[in-house]
């Protein structure tokens, strides 16, 4: 009886059509090309190989998802997510996790093993940035391709839901434009490589003296330095007051962008237990405190003539950079998508999310309202909350949901079978009205 879901977790495989199998072959060959180049350590005929891989992967994915979603009536498409190996922590899930984690490990600490891929991306880098590719260009390009292609998939999946379509368009736009094209073009124009949508403290480097000094001589760079600080101190409180933290986390941010698109098939893997919420609060605010401390120390070091504090501030920065900047946000944050869900970094680590969350909880009009007595406690909202919020606990009591971690993706509202949840802004402070209409 208690083990029933074990037997339930192993039904006949979900059907794929002939065209979908064909599409899988096409995408599979494209991915295989990339893996071969990665393993070989060098790329023969980079441009044709790159072109072929890109076209094959894109065509394969698009063909597959068109068949998956457009050939069927529009609606919620969660059939079998707990049955499939890839999305239910099965063999394919673990393999995918190992592959992505391995890629991140190479990226951060062993870029020499990405030499083949770097060669492969060289022609594109030359065309866009006017300079040779490095591992970060490879990473940024793959990342952008993932957001774009899986974004199209997500938009097909939720084509009946305008909020989801618009939101996806937004994250794809910001990733493609502000995190790929513009930084590349700026480099071509001999300007600093600026990502206008990454602010301190998510980008912990942006608030440091090193960043400030690095921008010396560039008007645009100095502008961005202060723009980033203004976004932290003024932009965040103001925008969050009106829209909640979603203005950033699920509409603009690149980490959020990847989670909402490539990460969407894994959103249900987030931990919903109370203990996870406790860990979340300890961890995320600790990291916010750490990054603030680190940045202050770095500036104090500069102010005191780089003598007294050099021995503390520099190792502090290096340790943060290694543990939080690379290991947590990258390796665990994305590599563990198929195991821990798509928002591990956003939920447990991101100091920007912590800051946005404080404002969302304390001073925002944004909330998710519940629809009277219609909740049937089914649990779809909680299950598909990527942030691990137990949405049902509020919905079944008829309470508004005002939680620091909610990124406003709107999926709880979309998957609710009884029309119970709605993301909205009120005329008053959210926290003032915990138990509405009663």
């Amino acid at each position: 009886m208690r083990d029933a879901s074990v037997s339930i977790a192993n039904p006949a495989p979900m059907m794929t059509t002939v065209r979908q199998k064909l599409a899988l072959v096409v995408a599979g060959v494209g991915i295989l090309l990339l893996l071969v180049v990665w393993a070989a350590g060098r790329a023969i005929a980079p441009l044709p190989t790159f072109g072929a891989a890109l076209i094959l992967v894109a065509a394969g994915i698009l063909l597959f998802v068109r068949e998956e979603y457009l050939q069927r009536p529009e609606g919620i498409k969660n059939n079998g997510v707990w049955f499939r190996s890839l999305t239910a922590r099965g063999v394919w899930g673990w393999l995918a996790g190992v592959l992505i984690t391995g890629f991140y490990v190479c990226l951060y600490w062993f870029p020499q093993y990405l030499a083949g891929l770097i060669q492969l991306f060289d022609p594109v880098s030359q065309a866009l940035r006017g300079q040779a590719a490095d591992q970060w260009f490879v990473y940024g390009s793959l990342y952008t391709a993932a957001v774009l292609l899986m974004g199209i998939k997500f938009a097909y999946k939720y084509r009946h839901n305008p909020y989801q379509r618009l939101r996806t368009l937004s994250v794809v736009f910001f990733q493609l434009g502000f995190a790929w094209l513009i930084p590349g073009l700026l480099m071509r124009l001999q300007q600093p490589e600026i990502y206008f949508t990454y602010f301190w403290p998510l980008s912990y480097y942006q608030g440091t003296p090193m960043a400030y000094e690095g921008y010396a001589g560039s008007g645009l760079g100095t502008f961005f330095f202060f723009f980033g600080l203004a976004m932290f101190f003024v932009g965040t409180p103001v925008l969050t007051w009106f829209f909640g933290k979603r203005w950033y986390c699920s509409w603009v941010c690149g980490c959020g962008g990847l989670a909402e698109t490539a990460g969407d098939p894994f959103r249900h893997l987030s931990d919903k237990r109370l203990i996870a919420w406790k860990v979340e609060r300890w961890l995320i605010y600790s990291i916010l405190i750490l990054v603030v401390l680190m940045t202050l120390l770095l500036w104090a070091n500069v102010a005191t003539g780089r003598s007294m504090l050099q021995g503390i501030s520099e190792p502090f920065y290096k340790t943060y950079s290694f543990l939080i900047g690379s290991a947590f946000s990258g390796v665990v944050g994305v590599g563990f998508y198929p195991i821990l869900g798509s928002r591990v970094w956003c939920r447990f680590g991101c100091p920007m999310a912590a800051w946005l969350g404080i404002w969302q909880k304390k001073r925002s009009k944004f909330r998710i309202t519940t629809n009277g007595g219609q909740c049937i406690s089914c649990g779809n909202c909680s299950t598909f909350c990527e942030m691990g919020i137990d949405v049902r606990a509020y919905a079944q009591k008829g309470q508004d949901i005002v939680r620091a971690s909610c990124v406003g993706c709107g999926i709880c509202s979309a998957v609710c079978p009884r029309g119970v949840l709605r993301l909205e802004g009120a005329s008053e402070l959210a926290g003032d009205r915990e138990r509405p209409f009663k």
Partner: protein, 452 residues
């Protein structure tokens, strides 16, 4: 005081939680079905792979010990109302000071030949889900008998697993005893769109066995045989009170209770699906096997047991469901056949999967009910208009207040107003569009006594 609750569904568990909120009484919840409370309405999602068993349990397992709610897994075979004891199949005797009967429903069977065969099941208990699962491997076709809410759920479940389904519906159109014709036909079309073999005006005659005592086919009244390895019987539910029949407890179809949910036995209450109101409230049925009435009764019985005597008032009728991809909500009085004294304003989206219907009293213009397909309306707003008997034109010109669809969704309220104008020759216009600030202003005048 020791309180024993028989049944760990939404009614029993709500009662237990609210008794704990209000008191320090000892609470024991007995269930034959499952170790922990789960959402019965979510069974379908476990089969379809949207959720696992633990995901449909609204409380984590530590919750019960922390709140000092003792959970007992046992089958109660009899109740000694004089000695105030329960007797289980494993010969345990459980005493009580107050007993709350929350035994739920059982699936109906109407004496069809073959209804007890292997592979013939209803869908109500966790064990029904296990049975569906057991029979699903290699299943070539399932037949679902009964065109109601559970029937269409079961059809969707098999369909989600790519198992062909024949859906036998006795009526001329799906659920047309409850849904008005347009909405009912919308569901028919949607079933066809999904490729479900919908058989309207088709009745089950018998279920045919193979040589191992498993069903191999059904035969309909027209004599047609449909080969199948599973038959779902979803022709309604009845109170699950078999072991209480012919005891001192007064029963009819369900356990008879007064407005305080008291049975004829002192200290014994009944709540949820298994109860039958001696005096049904105006516009409501004596037995209502609905999720939220179970929840309301659970909350109310807790008040009564803890000394705050309150009469049961489920308020204005509402309900909701989802027909595959089409959500359905109803508020107030919507009948399948429009009563003589009512008029209707019905708008349907050109895509044929969304509609809004408002019924009102012809003479007074008072709003009577809202019926929504593929569109979400806000409960509190509709309820306020219904309670106040607001005039149809007041409702129409402010209709945006009721809209609960996600942001950026199209708003169809002005189309509804147009339909009304066309029907009446008036030139009403929509004054209020969707938005929470307006809703809050509107509801601020709402009396705080509304109990839900």
């Amino acid at each position: 005081m020791k309180i024993v609750i028989l049944g760990n569904g939404i009614s029993g568990i709500t009662a237990a939680r609210h008794i704990r909120k209000r008191s320090d009484h000892a609470i024991t919840v007995i269930s034959e079905e499952s170790d922990y409370f789960f959402s019965r309405t979510a069974l379908m999602y476990v089969y379809m792979g949207h959720m696992r068993q633990q995901d449909v349990q609204p409380y984590e397992n530590w919750f019960w010990a922390k709140n000092r709610i003792e959970l007992v897994r046992a089958q109660v075979q009899s109740v000694d109302f004089d000695a105030k004891t329960l007797h289980t199949s494993d010969r345990r005797v459980i005493p009580y000071d107050r007993l709350v009967l929350a035994t739920g429903s059982r699936s109906n069977k109407f004496g069809w030949p073959g209804e007890t065969l292997n592979g013939v099941h209803g869908l109500y208990h966790w064990q029904d889900l296990e049975a569906m699962e057991r029979h699903s491997a290699g299943l070539q076709r399932a037949v679902v008998v009964g065109g109601g809410l559970i029937g269409i759920e079961m059809a969707e479940m098999f369909h989600a697993r790519h198992i062909p389904v024949s859906f036998l519906v006795r009526e001329k159109s799906f659920w047309d005893t409850v849904l008005p014709p347009e909405e009912s036909q919308m569901v028919n079309r949607h079933l066809h769109e999904h490729g479900i073999d919908l058989r309207l005006e088709t009745e089950l005659k018998e279920i045919l066995p193979d040589d191992k005592g498993t069903c191999r086919a059904v035969r309909t009244h027209s004599g047609e045989e449909i080969a199948c390895g599973f038959v779902g019987l979803t022709v309604g539910v009845s109170p699950n009170i078999g072991f209480l029949k012919n005891t001192a407890l007064e029963t009819n179809r369900g356990i008879l209770v007064n407005e305080f949910l008291e049975t004829n036995q002192p200290g014994v209450y009944a709540i949820g699906d298994c109860t039958e109101m001696r005096q049904a409230r105006a516009g409501r049925r004596p037995i209502e096997a609905v999720w939220y009435t179970g929840r309301m009764m659970g909350e109310l019985v807790a008040q009564n047991i803890c000394g705050k005597k309150t009469a049961y008032d489920p308020g204005i009728w509402f309900n909701s469901a989802k027909f595959l991809d089409i959500e359905y909500q109803v508020y107030g009085d919507i009948r399948a056949k429009l009563p003589e004294n009512q008029a209707t304003v019905y708008w349907e989206h050109p895509g044929g999967k969304k509609s809004i219907r408002l019924n009102y009293d012809k003479a007074s213009g008072a709003i009577a009910g809202f019926n929504l397909m593929g569109v979400r309306y806000r409960h509190e707003v509709c309820e306020k208009w219904l309670r106040e008997g607001a005039h149809i034109e007041t409702v129409l010109s402010n209709l945006g207040l009721a809209n609960f669809d996600p942001e950026f969704s199209d708003q169809y309220e002005s189309e509804v107003v147009k339909v009304y104008n066309r029907q009446t020759g008036k030139s009403l216009s929509l004054r209020q569009r969707r938005g929470l600030p307006g809703v809050l202003r509107f509801l601020q005048h709402l009396s705080t006594s509304s109990q839900r």
